[in-house]
Structure formats: structure tokens, C-alpha cells
């Protein structure tokens, strides 16, 4: 089913099983009427079941194989073809329905229909590809495909922060109706804007407005999330029930695969239970999906983190009226002090208490937070002259990078943590990082070798400084991704991130001089043994400022 008003969800866009037809996309349902194919498409492997919100979403759905997981079983050629078909299909579907997408992509000269052969076969390896190397038509097709793929990308943060430009204010709660119109413009579903009529002319906070919107459109299952908002201006992202389910599943599968999470862990999140920050919320949903009961999931920060609180605490964007004066002079310093002297210590104490309890009960633990938060726990242990011995299979998860001034590097933090947190057998407890962004419905999780593995149901690449796709097995550039399923019926999740990374795609053949395809390069595969694309460890760098060139002011 699809919870979206467009009548289309992600179910019909997911691939069929290996061995069967791999061309199944939503259009293969044959309905052609824009309505969802309510029949379940068999997933890969035995026992596969559909992914959708029909059963109440993944949040309470227990474990079991799903069709996303089937991507791991596909050959590289199958996978690429399915993804490209998914991209073409999602583009076609959203181009006709998503005004914001159509405006930007259309002005770039891209039409609703991508060129014929867009999703045709590519050279990915001698075992899978039926095309002879160097075939001229094939090369031209690949080049054209890359051109179009790059043209489908929108800048992630700018897209979801475009409300600031459109509304002329970073405070949507001051212009609720205009915000709703912006929201409708961004989505591929028909958002009945007439429901905005009863909206008040202003709301006291962004949280209040978002709650009202979620309530008004409860039938669509809309959920409004934000980025972490450290810049003071948060990305605002909407998900519906089906895209939330898919997102949760994406996280959950990766938690299982790379973190080895099972239902016998005790999950301790160094974050508030109530937050709209997308990454935090998805991590929470995903561990629930693993099968942890509520009494095994804990949140160490006992206060909600509402968007306005996050904004004020970031200290970069204040309101322009008297409230802004209060925010700047009173609330920001007060919140900083409160955070430093009360919230953080309390969260650390609470986490320590939960960790101690898990140790006593000999339960496996997942402690998840930012590097700095995990470091605080380690520092508290060290200050008390203590160390922890966790059950084997326990894991420390981190995410979000270091976004504030902090006197320790990531390596120092890991070393500090390793010195006081060990497993009962004496081995260090693995510390694994998660790379993700609010705008993406997936996350890349660090494997034992330290690399970040991109889920195989997402097509990834890097762009050079001129936004041209780089087609080599290992490339450094701006991370771009085409997630044909992640945006669900709401928007095409084709985005260029603001992160420069070194991406390794072992499946990709490096073009030899004068030829489109060259010998495969199996040597670049991750030592952890997991195939597919990955981001090299310590290669992620945020690039969101222009390099200073002349004497022109940057404002």
C-alpha cells in the first residue's frame, strides 16, 4: 500500500527476486493508472515479504528477510540495472508531479522521459555483462547516462532549506500558509492546501506548526523531520508512512549486517526520546525494528530537542524581534550553561547507570551517540577511576561527526574510550561510526575495517568540482546518490551531498585509455569482505564554503 495521496509508494518500485525478472518496477505492474500496485511483489530469496506500511510499518514488525536485503544477493549487473530502472522510473513519476523538482531539473534541459537505453546494460564485469568491451554504442550510452544521472541531482541541503529563500524567512512558523504551500510544492503527492485555511496566521514555534501540519495530514502519515540544525537553519524533510518504513528498514538491515545487532542487545541512546532530528529518529526506530522491546531501549537525555531549542542552542540564527534579543542574550547562554552543567552530566550519569546495569545482567549493549557524547562517558569513567567490561558482542555506535569545537580528535576519543571500555574477554569493544544525512533515507555504516558501506539499494557516485561524474573504481569528490526507492511517493531522492569523500566502487571497471571499459579491479574491495560501494575511512570532509579567492567579501 501507499500511504501517500499520489497512490504510489515504494512497494511497486522494489526489485523482483534474483533469478526472476529484474525489470520489475512500479510500471511493471501494468496498471499504468498511477495507482499503487497493491499486490505484493515477491522479494528476493525465500520467505521474502513486502515492505510497506500495511502492517503498521517496520517499527513494530519484528525481523525477517525483506526485499531490500535481496540487493545483497544480486550480481553487480543485476543491481545496477534494477537501480537505473528505478531511477528512470522515479524520475518519470516525480517529474510529472513534483513542481519543485520539475522546475529545477527542467531548467537544466532534462525532460520527463530519459533517453532510450538509459537503464541499459553496462560493463560491470566479464561474468555478468553481455556487452563486449569497447562497444561504441555502449560507451556512448554509458556517457549519456552519466550526463543525465548528474543532471538529476539536486543539492541536498539547499533543496530542503529552500523554504528560507521561498518564504523569505528562516522561521516558517511566522508564515504557516506559505510554508504549507512550499511543502506542497516540494512533494509529489497532492497535499490539500485548503486544509491550511484553519491554520493560525503565526505559531509560536516551529515545533507547534509542524505538529499541526502532521495532525492535519494524519491520513497521509506525514512526518516532518529536520537535520541536526547546527548551522542554525535546519533542513525540513517530510516522510510518509511508506518512506519511513523503507528508511527504518534500510537502517535496520545495516544495523544487523554491519553492527551485528540482534534482539538481545540493550540499546542506550545518548539522545532525547523526543526529537525531529532525522538521524536520531531513524536510529531509534531501527533498533526497535530489530526486535528490541521498549524496556530494552533507553534514552539518556530526558528532555525533548525541539527545532527551536536546537536553533537557539546553535547560536547562529535568532529571531529579529524582541524574542530574538531574549534568545541571544538570555536563552542561548542559559541553554549552553544548562547543557554543559546539567543535561550533559545527567545524560552521562544515566548512560553509566544503564551500562552498569547491563554489565550486571551480562547483557550485550549498543551505546549510540555522537563521538563527543561517547567521549564524555569515557571521561566520566576515567575520572572515577573505573572501567567497564561489557558483554562480548557489545558495540559503541557513533554518528554525526564532530560539529563543534572540541579539543580532541576522533582518534584521541577512540583511544580514550578503548582505554576504559572493554569487553569481558578483554578485547576492545568495537566503535563503529554511522555516516548519514537527514536528507538521505539510508546510512553508511562502518565495517570492522573502518570503511563506510553504502547500502546496495542506493546508486552512489562522486562528482568532480565541475559536477561531472567520476567513473573510476576509486574516486574522490562530492558524494552523490540516487536512491530510487527512498523518497517513496514524496520526492525523488537524487541528491548531491555537501561532503567530499573517497568512494570505492569495486564493481566498476576503470575505463582504459581509448576505451570505455577496462579490466575489473577486485583489489579495491573492502578487506571486511563485504562487496559493493564503500566510502574510505577518514575520507569524509564537509565542503560547504567557497575557497577564498580574491578580495570579494563572503557574507
Amino acid at each position: 500500500m501507499s500511504a501517500s495521496g499520489s497512490g504510489e509508494g515504494v512497494v511497486e518500485a522494489l526489485p523482483r527476486a534474483r533469478g526472476g525478472s529484474v525489470s520489475a518496477t512500479h510500471s511493471s505492474s501494468g496498471r499504468g493508472d498511477g495507482q499503487p500496485d497493491s499486490g505484493s511483489v515477491p522479494g528476493p530469496g525465500a520467505g521474502a515479504r513486502p515492505v510497506s506500511g500495511e502492517n503498521g510499518g517496520g517499527r513494530s514488525a519484528g525481523t525477517g528477510p525483506t526485499r531490500l536485503a535481496g540487493f545483497w544477493d544480486m550480481t553487480a549487473a543485476e543491481r545496477e540495472r534494477v537501480l537505473l530502472e528505478g531511477v528512470a522510473d522515479a524520475h518519470r513519476r516525480h517529474f510529472g508531479r513534483n513542481a519543485a523538482y520539475r522546475r529545477v531539473i527542467g531548467l537544466r534541459g532534462v525532460a520527463e522521459e530519459l533517453p532510450p537505453g538509459f537503464a541499459g546494460p553496462v560493463a560491470t564485469g566479464p561474468d555478468t555483462c553481455g556487452q563486449p568491451d569497447g562497444d561504441a554504442g555502449h560507451a556512448a550510452g554509458a556517457a549519456e547516462r552519466e550526463l543525465f544521472l548528474a543532471r538529476l541531482l539536486r543539492p541536498a541541503a539547499a533543496t530542503f532549506k529552500s523554504y528560507i529563500d521561498v518564504l523569505g524567512t528562516p522561521f516558517p512558523n511566522d508564515v504557516p500558509r506559505a510554508f504549507l504551500e512550499w511543502l506542497a510544492d516540494q512533494l509529489s503527492i497532492a497535499l490539500p492546501v485548503e486544509r491550511a485555511r484553519p491554520l493560525r496566521s503565526t505559531y509560536g514555534s516551529l515545533e507547534a506548526l509542524l505538529r499541526v501540519i502532521e495532525k492535519r495530514y494524519r491520513d497521509l502519515g506525514l512526518e516532518v523531520l529536520t537535520s541536526s540544525g547546527t548551522s542554525g537553519r535546519a533542513s525540513i524533510i517530510v516522510r510518509d508512512a511508506s518512506s519511513t518504513d523503507l528508511n527504518v528498514e534500510s537502517f535496520y538491515l545495516c544495523f544487523q549486517r554491519y553492527f551485528g545487532m540482534t534482539a538481545d542487545h540493550r540499546a542506550i541512546f545518548l539522545m532525547p526520546r523526543s526529537t525531529r532530528i532525522a538521524m536520531a529518529r531513524m536510529a531509534r526506530f531501527s533498533v526497535s525494528r530489530v526486535g528490541l522491546s521498549d524496556d530494552r531501549v533507553h534514552f539518556a537525555i530526558p528532555f525533548p530537542a525541539q527545532p527551536d531549542q536546537v536553533r537557539i542552542r546553535a547560536g547562529r540564527t535568532y529571531r529579529f524581534d524582541r524574542r530574538g534579543v531574549l534568545e541571544r542574550r538570555l536563552w542561548h547562554p542559559a541553554m549552553a550553561r544548562l547543557q554543559e552543567h546539567y543535561v550533559d552530566p545527567r545524560a552521562t550519569r544515566r548512560a553509566l547507570a544503564l551500562l552498569d546495569e547491563a554489565c550486571r545482567r551480562r547483557e550485550k549493549v549498543l551505546l549510540f551517540g555522537s563521538l563527543i557524547q561517547v567521549h564524555r562517558v569515557a571521561q566520566a569513567l576515567r575520572a572515577a577511576g573505573r572501567s567497564l567490561q561489557l558483554e562480548p558482542g557489545s558495540l559503541l555506535g557513533t554518528g554525526g561527526g564532530i560539529k563543534e569545537l572540541y579539543p580532541h580528535t576522533a582518534d584521541q576519543i577512540r583511544a580514550d574510550v578503548a582505554s576504559v571500555v572493554r569487553s569481558r574477554g578483554g578485547d576492545p569493544v568495537p566503535i563503529r561510526d554511522v555516516y548519514g544525512m537527514a536528507e538521505a533515507n539510508w546510512a553508511a555504516m562502518q565495517c570492522a575495517a573502518g570503511n563506510y558501506h553504502v547500502p546496495p539499494w542506493v546508486l552512489v557516485g562522486t562528482l568532480d568540482d565541475d559536477d561531472a561524474p567520476q567513473r573510476s573504481a576509486e574516486s574522490t569528490g562530492m558524494l552523490a546518490f540516487w536512491d530510487p526507492f527512498g523518497g517513496g511517493g514524496l520526492y525523488p531522492a537524487f541528491f548531491r551531498s555537501a561532503d567530499r569523500v573517497t568512494l570505492v566502487r569495486p564493481d566498476l571497471r576503470r575505463p582504459a585509455p581509448g576505451r570505455e571499459a577496462g579490466p575489473a579491479e577486485p583489489d579495491v574491495a573492502c578487506p571486511c569482505g563485504d562487496g559493493g560501494a564503500y566510502i574510505r575511512r577518514e575520507s569524509i570532509r564537509r565542503v560547504d564554503r567557497l575557497e577564498e579567492a580574491g578580495c570579494a567579501a563572503q557574507m
Binding site: 522546475r103 534541459g109 529552500s162 529563500d165 529579529f320 524581534d321 579567492a549 580574491g550 557574507m555
Partner: protein
């Protein structure tokens, strides 16, 4: 060309010292470092250069087009000492007053063609500048081959000009110069002085000028040198000038100075330009404690650092001068005994005084030769941080009609130049173009305008049409296209309303966006909130306009520009306006224009010049609020705004003729 071949590519002198100084200071022990560039970015030494970045003089060998090197000396403290001695000697040999100005002008005029900077491509010098800065060779040729850069004829009049307090109340004509000036005293700077009283104190030529240039726009260091030498217009000897050159562009200024020296060595005998580490606190304190004038054209962070160093140096200087007075007094009274000043001793010199320390105030050292004038205790600090500039197109410039009027294409071409030169990386580059005229909903490719005049949307379309061939004639430098794409996408996302249009294509090497959305202040009641929102939006717009991104905004009236836009930005970030105003046959500036200029000056704008000349400022006029007279005199705090032409329309016509002729740098 002062390039030496090296195995990895040509190595240029990334420094300039007068011949006498080179002979005196350099020795076999002098340490050298070579900075390598490729595509406008620092790079590692090419492998064929042995991977060496430091040490020895550059070796000979075949050049490579891939990378260009710039060698620079890394002076020891003794060498610094020796350098200042040599420059002081050069100062004594230099011509003084008007003679220096005349000979410098002559030497520059003779040297400029020898540099071959007007050449489009291929010349070794131009190619090297392109490789080190990242700008296209065509850009280097077009911008630096412009004779206006070398115009120094007005400097004597500018340095000796003596504006009165009358300029605080109305526009004042500049004696010996075209145009007008206004003075905007800082809060508390105006104390009811008589209108006829001079603003400036008695002039005193500085004995030592320390300069700091930054960025990759060529010539900043040269600009500082020329300004510093212009101080001799008061009749004194030129100062010793030591300029810390930009690491991002170390080649151009040394090239020009070497060419000048080849014509007339004495006029640049007191000048040194090279790269040193301005984070070296001790060196900086020592140098700045001796400077009478510090000119820094750099980023805001660097400006703040240098400003703090100047303050510390002031303390040292005061103590040093106290000590010098005590020494003189003892010598006079015969009490004898050598006293070393309390200034910062450079490390590694043991008990020996730091360079210049014993000279401070003494008769035999270079400080004693400062034309017999005592310098002020506190060095004056002229800070030129990063700024933003704009273009303003008056209604009369958009009138349709034949005859003597400049056609719309010509206006758009001049405006395109103002935004394209230096790829909008210069503080003088026009970012937002304000166009006087009403927004008219688009029908077809351009908005319909009132009969008789072109609409702002038509102007935007014409601008895009002019930027397109300009992108071929003067290609963009090696900057990521991503920034252009981001700007394109940003405005494409706003095209849901007919108030916003994107006039360029995704693959164009520029972006022209038309944005007629009214400011929040015009839509919302609460003035403070609306202004806050407008300021936020305008800052974002201005910040995005780099790399040839132009946003065209219609305004109903010229005065909207200062009232609704410029006043929203921090005054310290504003620099200049290039304006298209007036009509053929105008005599002088209209009252309407002067009111507009006055309001812009009050917002912080310091230079107003004719359209097309935005990137080619004249040294004789206000640079970030400082007049050339500021180089030699103190005055109450505040800023000067100058209008650089009395007949802007004629100036536009003249610029258009120059740039659009077949022989012009744009080759139209």
C-alpha cells in the same frame, strides 16, 4: 622575464628587491623557498624538480607548462637588518616630490608594454600568471593590459588635496581632479568644525610603510607600493616600502617593479616586495614598531591579526621613542652610555639589538633619514578588508531610442564587464545589479516595459546575452562550476513565481537571475523584523554572487537602492557602485544623482564610478574610505566617498569605445 628554467617548470622571482639591496643582502647563505602553483592552486613541487620546495637557488632546466614556481628568500634576522639598510640607502638616492612622481609615471609607461600583458595568450608571463592565479590568460591580458592601471598623473593632486569640513555637509569638488567627494564622520568625529577648516592635519611623509597584500587578484602589492611612493608628492623623499606579498599571487608585482627598475632604478630603490610569515609575531612587532603607515589589503581574519599586531607595536614604539629621547638627552648632556631600546629582540641574536633597534631615533640609521620629519608615534593603519560592490542602472540609461544614446546592448556589455573581470572575485566586482524600472510580468522572453524604455527584465536578458560572448573572449578561470550550478539551482527553485527568472543556461559559464520579489519591508508591517529578514536575504544573495553570478533586481527609484538594500548590509563590507546614469550632453551631475550618491555614501559606499569602470579604479580616489591624502595625514575617524566622474555618461561612452573596439581587450 625574470623566470629561471627549472626541471619541473619555469620558476619566477616571487619577490622583488632593488638591485643594490640584492647585492647587499643575498649571499650563499640566503635560504630560498619555491612556491609551486598549477591551475591557480598551490601544488607540490613537480617530481622533475626533485620534489624540493626549499633550498638553494633554482636549478636550470627545461620549462614545463604544468606548474609554475615562484621562489622567495627566507630572510634571517641579519638579512632583514641588512635589507632595511639597503632600502634606506635607496631612499636617500631616490628623487623627491614631484620629480619622483614624474619619473615613476614615465618609467611605468615605458615598462608596461615591455611586460607584454596585453597579449591574449601564449606569452610566458601571462601563462605564468594564469597558472599561479587560476585566472584565464585572456583575463590576465584584458585586465592588466589596461592602461588605466598605470595612470598616476592624478596622484600628486590627490595626495596634496586638502578637503574641508564643508565636505561633511555637501559634495565637494576635488581640486585638480574630476568628480566630487563627501566626508562621513564617524560618530563623535564631527565636533562642529568650521566648514572652511581642513579635515586633515599637516601632512608628514611616512618614513617606512609596511604593506600586506593577499588574494589571487594580481597587483595588490603593486597598488600598495604605488600608493606608498605617492606620499612623496608632499615634497619629501619616498618612504622605505616593505610589502608582504600574497602567497596566492607572488609574481605580478615583482615583474612590474623589475621592469620599472630597468627603466629608472632610483624610483623603486626603497621598495621591497616579498612573502614573509606574518604570523611570526616577533618579526612583525619589530617591523611594525618602525612603520609610520601600515596598509593591509587582505581577508578579514588577516586584517584583525595585523591590526592587533599594530596595536602591540604601538606600545613598543612608544617605549622605543621614550628610550630614544633619553639617549639623545644623555648624549646632549654628555652622560654617554649605550641604551638599547625596549622593543622586541628577535630570537637568536643574543645580546645584540634587533634589526633597527639601535637606529630608532639615532642620527646615522635609516630612520634618521626620514626627510627630517618626525613621524607620528602611532602607526596609521589602513585596513582594506573583503568588500562587496554593486551596479546601478538608472532609468535614463534604459531609454529606447536611436541617436546618441548608448544602446541597451552597450549598457549591458559595460555592466557585464564590471561583473566578469576577475570573475567577480574582486572587491570591486559588481554583484547585484539594481535596475531602475518597474517589474512587469513576463510575456514571452522578456518583460514588457513601459513604452520608451527597456524593462529590468529586458536588461537582465541583455546582460545574459553580453556575458555569453564575454565568457568566450575572456574565459572564466579555473574555479569549480559547482558554485555556478548551485546559484543556478537556487534561483531555478524560485521560478515558481513570475517574479523570478533565470536568464542563463545550466551550461553557461555564468548565471544571470532576475529577482523582482519585493523586500519583506514592503510586505510586512513590523519594520524591525522585516529589515532583519531582508538583511538575511540580501546577505545570502550577495554572498552567492561570485564567479560570474549576477542577480538583477528592479527598483522603482534609485533611492531604493540605499534605503531598501545597502542600508541592510554592514557598512564596512560595502565598497563601490558602478553606475549608469545621465544622458548625452549632460553638464555635471544632477541633483537627483547627488542625493542618491549621498545616501549610498551614508550607507558605507566609498567609491562611485561609471559603469564599465568598476574593476578599474583610479588610485586618486577613495579606496575603502581612505583618500590618498590619508597616506600622509591624520584626520578624525570617518570615511570619504568619491564620485569619480563629473560626466558619467560620457565616461561610459568612452569606456565602451575602448573596450568594444576590435583592438580592445574584449575584442568585440
Amino acid at each position: 622575464m625574470n623566470a629561471a628554467g627549472a626541471p619541473g617548470g619555469p620558476v619566477f622571482d616571487g619577490f622583488w628587491l632593488p638591485r643594490a639591496a640584492r647585492e647587499q643582502v643575498f649571499s650563499a647563505a640566503t635560504r630560498w623557498e619555491t612556491l609551486w602553483f598549477s591551475g591557480g592552486r598551490p601544488c607540490d613541487a613537480p617530481a622533475s624538480a626533485g620534489g624540493q620546495r626549499t633550498g638553494g637557488r633554482p636549478a636550470a632546466g627545461g620549462p614545463s607548462a604544468a606548474a609554475v614556481g615562484a621562489r622567495r628568500p627566507v630572510f634571517s634576522h641579519d638579512e632583514w637588518d641588512s635589507l632595511l639598510d639597503a632600502l634606506s640607502a635607496g631612499r636617500r638616492r631616490a628623487p623627491q616630490g614631484a620629480e619622483l612622481s614624474r619619473r615613476l609615471r614615465t618609467a611605468l609607461a615605458q615598462a608596461a608594454p615591455a611586460l607584454g600583458l596585453g597579449a591574449r595568450t601564449g606569452d610566458g608571463t601571462v601563462a605564468a600568471l594564469a597558472s599561479s592565479t587560476g585566472y584565464s590568460q585572456e583575463m590576465i591580458g584584458a585586465a592588466l593590459g589596461t592602461p588605466d592601471l598605470w595612470t598616476l598623473g592624478e596622484m600628486t593632486a590627490a595626495v596634496t588635496a586638502d578637503p574641508t569640513w564643508d565636505a561633511a555637509g555637501q559634495w565637494q569638488r576635488l581640486p585638480g581632479l574630476e568628480g566630487r567627494l563627501r566626508f562621513y564622520p564617524a560618530r563623535g568625529g564631527y565636533r562642529g568644525e568650521r566648514p572652511a577648516a581642513p579635515i586633515f592635519a599637516t601632512p608628514a611623509t611616512p618614513a617606512l610603510v609596511a604593506g600586506y597584500g593577499a588574494g589571487n587578484v594580481p597587483g595588490t602589492a603593486l597598488l600598495i607600493v604605488l600608493l606608498a611612493l605617492a606620499t612623496a608628492a608632499t615634497g619629501a623623499a619616498p618612504p622605505v616600502v616593505v610589502v608582504r606579498n600574497s602567497r596566492r599571487e607572488p609574481i605580478f608585482s615583482p615583474l612590474v617593479l623589475a621592469a620599472v627598475e630597468a627603466v629608472d632604478p632610483d624610483v623603486v630603490g626603497s621598495v621591497a616586495v616579498f612573502v614573509w610569515d606574518y604570523a611570526d609575531g616577533r618579526l612583525q612587532r619589530w617591523l611594525l614598531a618602525q612603520a609610520d603607515l601600515v596598509i593591509a589589503a587582505a581577508g578579514d581574519d588577516a586584517i584583525a591579526d595585523i591590526g592587533a599586531q599594530v596595536k602591540r607595536a604601538t606600545t613598543d614604539r612608544a617605549a622605543r621613542e621614550r628610550t630614544a629621547r633619553e639617549v639623545a638627552e644623555r648624549e646632549r648632556t654628555g652622560s654617554g652610555g649605550e641604551v638599547i631600546g625596549p622593543g622586541p629582540a628577535l630570537p637568536g641574536r643574543g645580546g645584540k639589538p634587533g634589526p633597527g633597534e639601535a637606529r630608532a631615533g639615532s642620527a646615522g640609521g635609516w630612520r634618521g633619514s626620514a626627510a627630517g620629519q618626525s613621524a607620528p608615534v602611532t602607526p596609521r593603519f589602513h585596513a582594506h578588508g573583503h568588500k562587496a560592490s554593486f551596479a546601478v542602472i538608472g532609468r535614463e540609461a534604459l531609454e529606447r531610442g536611436a541617436g546618441e544614446r548608448l544602446p541597451l546592448d552597450a549598457i549591458a556589455f559595460l555592466a557585464a564587464l564590471d561583473s566578469a573581470v576577475w570573475d567577480q572575485n574582486g572587491c570591486l566586482s559588481a554583484r547585484v545589479h539594481f535596475v531602475e524600472g518597474r517589474h512587469t510580468p513576463a510575456d514571452g522572453s522578456a518583460g514588457a516595459a513601459a513604452p520608451g524604455s527597456y524593462s529590468p527584465l529586458e536588461y537582465a536578458a541583455a546582460l545574459a546575452a553580453q556575458l555569453r560572448p564575454l565568457a568566450v573572449a575572456i574565459p572564466r578561470g579555473r574555479w569549480p562550476r559547482r558554485a555556478l550550478h548551485d546559484a543556478f539551482d537556487r534561483y531555478a527553485a524560485l521560478t515558481g513565481t513570475d517574479l523570478v527568472r533565470v536568464l542563463s543556461g545550466y551550461d553557461d559559464d555564468f548565471v544571470v537571475a532576475y529577482d523582482a520579489r519585493p523586500p519583506a519591508a514592503a510586505r510586512r508591517g513590523r519594520a524591525r523584523v522585516a529589515r532583519g529578514l531582508d538583511a538575511l536575504a540580501l546577505s545570502g544573495t550577495v554572498g552567492a554572487c561570485q564567479g560570474r553570478v549576477v542577480v538583477v533586481r528592479p527598483v522603482d527609484d534609485l533611492l531604493e537602492v540605499p534605503r531598501c538594500y545597502l542600508s541592510l548590509l554592514p557598512p564596512a563590507t560595502l565598497q563601490s557602485l558602478s553606475v549608469a546614469v545621465g544622458s548625452a550632453g549632460d553638464r555635471g551631475l544632477s541633483e537627483r544623482f547627488l542625493r542618491f550618491a549621498e545616501a549610498c555614501g551614508a550607507c558605507g559606499v566609498t567609491g562611485i564610478r561609471p559603469l564599465g569602470r568598476g574593476a578599474f579604479p583610479r588610485l586618486a580616489y577613495s579606496w575603502d574610505g581612505f583618500l590618498p591624502r590619508d597616506l600622509v595625514s591624520r584626520r578624525p575617524p570617518g570615511h570619504f566617498t568619491t564620485i569619480e566622474s563629473e560626466t558619467p555618461y560620457e565616461a561610459m561612452c568612452e569606456t565602451y569605445r575602448r573596450f568594444s573596439s576590435g583592438a580592445g581587450p574584449c575584442g568585440r
